[in-house]
């Protein structure tokens, strides 16, 4: 079980009931296939950055849920078959799970045996590690720009670049102003 985030766009030029049923179909598919929905966020009708199927607006919905990889392929199939779905995108959820903590805690308390708690600490520890890493990086950069960064490329390579970029930036600044 991993935590996924699926966003999809539904054709908004239908009545609310149809949109509801189309969104509901997705949540039903997730639940029916052993998924556990943590959050449903309906962003509602938004302007599309470019027309899709000659539509300029789309109805956006995001689901954050726990599930197996099978759920993803089932959802994919459903999205591709349904003509009302303009776009869909599923990614591994990397945001802050604590945002949904009240619901998480509730579900854990109620069904402690069913819901595996193992998922939660893993993700959190990753986030913490990342935060720590980025802090380290910052500190190093602040203290001594010449020391090599432990993670990425050597700073020697970057040094001349930054000098150059300083110039080019100034140029750019002038250009834009």
């Amino acid at each position: 079980m991993r935590t996924y985030e699926t966003t999809f766009i539904v054709n908004p030029q239908t009545d609310d009931a149809t949109i509801d049923s189309q969104v509901g179909a997705i949540s039903k598919l997730i639940l029916d296939n052993g998924g556990n929905i943590l959050n449903e966020n309906r962003m509602g009708t938004r302007r599309l950055a470019y027309p899709i199927q000659k539509l300029t607006q789309g109805y956006y919905t995001t689901f954050v849920y726990e599930g197996t990889a099978e759920v993803i392929s089932i959802l994919d199939r459903h999205f591709n078959l349904g003509e009302a779905y303009l776009r869909h995108l599923t990614i591994v959820f990397e945001g802050d799970l604590e945002k949904f903590n009240p619901s998480l805690e509730d579900s854990n308390d109620q069904e402690e045996k069913v819901a595996p708690v193992s998922n939660e600490p893993e993700v959190k520890s990753e986030a913490i590690e990342e935060a720590a890493e980025s802090q380290e990086e910052e500190k190093i950069e602040e203290a001594e720009p010449e020391t090599e960064e432990p993670v990425a490329e050597t700073s020697e390579e970057e040094k001349p670049k930054t000098d150059e970029s300083a110039d080019s930036k100034e140029f750019n600044e002038d250009d834009q102003l």
Partner: protein, 76 residues
């Protein structure tokens, strides 16, 4: 834009302690894209390698989901 230019050495995301980028946050991503909708290179935006990598992925996702334009003549 002016803020980014002024303090060239600092990565916007390191500075603001943003470790997780959301492709749905179009207003944030828009700062790192030029008028044509092209991704601004690291050399100009001053982002660190890690965050620039994540940023490009997020911008590309945002484009796929029509949060941002792939290209445009008159952006913004």
């Amino acid at each position: 834009m002016k803020n980014l230019m002024r303090r060239r050495k600092f990565c916007y995301f390191c500075e603001n302690r943003i470790s997780i980028l959301d492709y749905k946050d179009e207003r944030l991503l828009r700062r790192f894209v030029n008028e044509r909708g092209k991704i601004i290179p690291r050399r100009i935006s001053g982002n660190c390698a890690r965050h620039q990598r994540r940023l490009t992925v997020s911008i590309k996702r945002a484009r796929m989901m029509a949060f941002m334009a792939f290209e445009s003549e008159s952006f913004r």
